[in-house]
């Protein structure tokens, strides 16, 4: 598929289902290649916790197959499609790894990239290459699985992915604390992560964002919510929620919601339903040291109004700001620079995305390395040119 583009040296857009095509810098390409025609799960060994699929396989198909065996993708891939005006629930497994997309459980089990075991991909010279394999432990050669994760189709086109899967929990419970301000909510999440109970999701939604929830039992509280998730065998979840309540009682008495409402709530976060698409606002995704989260937000709010919610114990912050010529980039990047971390502009008008950096700017030295890597995989700059960084 790629060969004709390589032969004529024509730049090409790399797509799965296209649900995230509005993320990144706008590109000028001569055409597009979609992996959606390459689909199907071709290997699944539940007792070895491993699955292989063609890159264009819909994530939904993979999750349905796993659910049939009480298993799951533990890193809980996030669906940012709807938030950028793309289709909901349409993304492909290849795009999940190409964008290293992880949800709330990332804080305990690691990111998408941590679950990727093997890849087959095509470089910008139409060479087919492989890395990794189907086994959990593999240190043979340079680790291109990690190398290609999060490269947004700028280094190679993933054609096959092999990944680790895990058992789905028997029971889920969520401890929900009400009415805490942002900084105390984040403090509570960090305190919970210091306990030996394997909290597998922590999110803080200020009142205005919590009110957007579809999970009625939480939306109707009319207060901010700080949610701590436990997943395990039933006996363990019961024991641990009681133990956590006792250990964290200075933060108040939580309401505890069971498996059904919990799944509904955490799935809402996965598809970002509290941050619906709008042309009136821009959306940023920030990664910070957890306890710094509220400080980053306070620094941003000195310059503009912002609706936010915190995941990853406070370290992942989704920030919705009014649409403007630079989407607030200079103030937001300064806030992040002061407190550490990085910011990605997820949603903004095309003209904004072509005039400000969408991904976190790199140091000159890192830029030298990433340009070298781009040249290694895609010397003619044909694959998603300029999507992550100008001239890359």
């Amino acid at each position: 598929m790629l060969a004709p583009f390589v032969e004529k040296q024509l730049p090409v857009e790399i797509l799965g289902s296209g649900s995230k095509s509005r993320v990144g810098r706008p590109m000028q390409t001569a055409g597009a290649i979609s992996t959606a025609s390459m689909h199907g799960i071709w290997m699944y060994e539940p007792t070895e916790l491993v699955m292989s699929a063609h890159a264009g396989t819909p994530l939904a198909q993979i999750e349905a197959e796993l659910a049939g065996n009480n298993q799951m993708l533990a890193f809980e891939p996030c669906d940012i499609g709807p938030a950028v005006g793309g289709a909901r629930g349409s993304q492909t497994i290849g795009s999940v790894f190409a964008t290293n997309s992880s949800g709330s459980r990332r804080i305990t089990v690691g990111a998408a990239r941590d679950h990727l075991l093997g890849i087959e991909a095509v470089s910008g010279q139409a060479e087919l290459f492989r890395s990794g394999g189907r086994v959990m432990k593999n240190v043979t050669g340079v680790d291109l699985c990690r190398g290609l994760s999060g490269s947004w189709g700028t280094l190679g086109v993933l054609t096959e992915v092999t990944f680790k899967v895990l058992p789905a929990p028997e029971k889920t419970a969520t401890l929900v604390y009400l009415g805490l301000p942002d900084d105390i909510g984040v403090e509570l999440m960090c305190a919970a992560m210091r306990l030996p109970y394997e909290v597998s999701g922590t999110a803080h939604l200020p009142q205005s964002v919590a009110a957007r929830l579809e999970t009625a039992v939480l939306a109707e509280q009319g207060q901010s919510i700080t949610a701590l998730r436990l997943e395990n065998f039933e006996k363990s979840v019961d024991y641990r929620s009681a133990a956590m309540r006792a250990e964290l009682k200075v933060y108040g008495e939580p309401i505890i919601i069971g498996s059904t409402a919990s799944l509904e709530f955490w799935n809402e976060l996965r598809r970002l339903s509290v941050l619906p698409f709008s042309e009136e606002s821009c959306l940023w995704r920030i990664s910070a040291t957890p306890m710094m989260g509220p400080k980053v937000v306070a620094a941003i709010r000195r310059h503009m109004p912002a609706e936010v919610y915190y995941d990853w114990s406070g370290g992942r912050i989704w920030v919705e700001v009014p649409a403007s010529a630079d989407a607030g980039a200079s103030d937001i990047r300064r806030a992040v620079a002061v407190h550490g971390g990085h910011a990605t502009l997820i949603r903004a008008d095309q003209s904004v995305r072509s005039s400000v950096e969408v991904f976190q700017p790199q140091s000159p030295l890192a830029e030298r390395i990433i340009r070298g890597l781009k040249t290694t995989f895609d010397p003619f700059r044909l694959l998603n040119p300029g999507r992550m960084y100008a001239n890359l």
Binding site: T47, D114, N138, A168
Partner: protein, 517 residues
């Protein structure tokens, strides 16, 4: 004579580790190779400039940081793959990242090769010196720089030992998850370079899953900072590329690692089986039930016998195969999980099901397993392999490993991290008999080729180094290797870092540069 003390301390540590792993500590003559791998020919013009190079390094890092005398250098002439030795040109042990940068900048300018070194416990020759290369060790850079329990990270210099990190945070009930069996001596620098695993990685992942940020000195002396205390470093995943790059891309001098709160308690159980198939089937059944134990360790009969005679752990001597399964949680949770596992094992007709009676027995059970290499080392020399296989292939692979070793007239004991498919066949041989040594190496190569054939890989946690360098073509195509080598060129354009390793020698020129395709 500080450097000699340093050297003595290191050799002591190395001996300790060798003892733990059952490796014989034998001093070979300089440059003598017991086994058959070819090395790059040293550059005589660099060796002739030795005194000038030593003087310059002393100027950069101070005389006490430079080890130039023969006795001192000899302590560095090998690593955990101690059949191979080479006298380093000179050894320098800087105290700061800036000193490392200055050393590398100088070597880069003069086109002098560099071999980075942690504690030298690599089992694949990853830290093997070269006669025309400067060994740059991080062992004096072992400070803990920052510990943050709220944000759950530790920032350390990479000369710290693996266990040193866990010890620094254990007071608050935290630990650093990867736990290679050399953890008493091996450095984080080496763990990062090799992407080390350990017994607990089934649940907690390997090194690459536990690193948040790092400071890397590139060969030209530039200092690259990647990531930080936050999750998911920005841009391309340079952290992922650096971890496991075996000292080919740069020297990691500082790292920010994830620390995790320890479980309330942990306890193992032993399950003995009448056959390999039954043990393999039981592992599958445990995982299918939705339980992810912290560790599932497998030993075959020869391994059980040797370890039992050494550790007196109460291993079942009538079993063909033994599983040690450990779970974590509160006392009640542990009892519940171990009970579930016992009933899962029932249909596989176990000959023994024994839950550890308490801390003392748990310690014994693990002592037997963890000293397996040492115990086997007491009865024979051995060559430790590190392939990985899909679990379902275990019975077939063990049968064929037996055949391979028999065909070479050698015995084998097998230890297996069953949960993650990492197989360690220990090929027993007589090191003083060059023919046997050669046959052991040959059998090892056949076993690794078998691992690749059944869908596994050459190395699960030890790395490629020199040991599996020339087998890389069994796992990778020329295109795959070409890409990997081009990535090396991005970081180290002159191929001065750890040359002649990882990539097949046939793809390199005499000077260690890639043969241009």
């Amino acid at each position: 004579m500080r450097h000699q003390l340093e050297g003595n301390r290191l050799i002591g540590l190395a001996k300790e580790v060798a003892g733990l792993q059952g490796l014989k500590w034998v001093q070979f003559g300089q440059g003598m190779l017991a086994m058959s791998l070819r090395m790059l020919p040293p550059d005589k013009s660099i060796i002739e400039r030795r005194s000038e190079i030593v003087a310059k390094l002393e100027k950069i890092a101070g005389t006490e940081a430079v080890i130039a005398d023969e006795d001192g250098r000899r302590t560095f002439e090998s690593d955990g793959l101690n059949a191979y030795r080479a006298m380093p040109l000179v050894v320098v042990l800087p105290k700061t990242t800036d000193e490392v940068a200055e050393v590398l900048r100088y070597c880069h300018g003069e086109k002098i090769k560099v071999v980075a070194r942690g504690a030298g416990t690599s089992l694949c020759g990853g830290a093997l010196p070269l006669e025309d290369a400067v060994v740059v060790g991080v062992s004096r850079m072992n400070n803990v720089l920052e510990i943050d329990y709220d944000n759950r990270f530790a920032r350390v210099e990479t000369g710290i030992t693996n266990l040193g990190i866990s010890n620094a945070v254990s007071g608050e009930g935290f630990f650093y998850a990867p736990d290679p069996s050399s953890q008493l001596a091996c450095t984080l620098a080496g763990n990062l370079a090799m992407n080390s695993g350990g017994a607990h990685c089934l649940k907690y992942g390997v090194t690459t899953n536990n690193v948040l940020g790092m400071k890397v000195v590139l060969m030209d002396g530039e200092i690259l900072e990647i990531g930080g205390a936050h999750l998911d470093a920005e841009g391309y995943d340079l952290l992922g590329l650096m971890v496991g790059s075996e000292g080919q891309f740069g020297m990691i001098t500082e790292a920010t690692v994830r620390i995790i709160k320890s479980a309330e308690a942990a306890r193992p159980m032993m399950i003995g089986f009448p056959s390999v198939e039954a043990a393999g089937g039981c592992v599958s059944a445990i995982i299918a039930s939705g339980i992810i134990p912290v560790a599932i360790e497998y030993m075959d009969k020869p391994a059980i016998e040797v370890c039992e005679s050494f550790a007196k752990a109460g291993y079942p001597m009538d079993a063909e195969a033994l599983l040690i399964v450990e779970v974590e949680g509160s006392e009640d949770e542990i009892n519940d999980l171990l009970g579930r596992i016992a009933s899962i094992a029932e249909p596989f007709a176990p000959t023994t099901v024994q839950i550890s009676s308490g801390a003392a027995q748990s310690a014994k059970i693990w002592k037997g397993r963890k000293s397996a290499f040492g115990a086997i080392g007491r009865i024979s020399d051995y060559y430790c392999m590190d392939g990985t296989i899909p679990l379902s292939q275990l019975p077939e692979v063990l049968r064929r490993i037996g055949e391979i070793c028999t065909s070479h007239g050698l015995k084998v004991a097998n230890i297996f991290h069953a949960g993650d498919g990492n197989l360690h066949p220990l090929i027993l041989y007589e090191a003083n008999d060059p023919k046997q040594a050669e046959r052991a190496e040959q059998a090892g190569a056949e076993i690794l080729t078998l691992c690749v054939e059944v869908g596994g890989c050459l190395t699960g946690e030890h790395g490629v180094g020199i040991e599996k360098r020339d087998l890389m073509t069994t796992q990778f195509s020329e295109t795959d290797l070409g890409l990997q080598m081009r990535i090396k060129t991005v970081f180290d354009p002159d191929w001065l870092l750890n040359p002649g390793k990882v990539f097949p020698l046939e793809m390199l020129s005499e000077t260690g540069m890639p043969n241009v395709a």
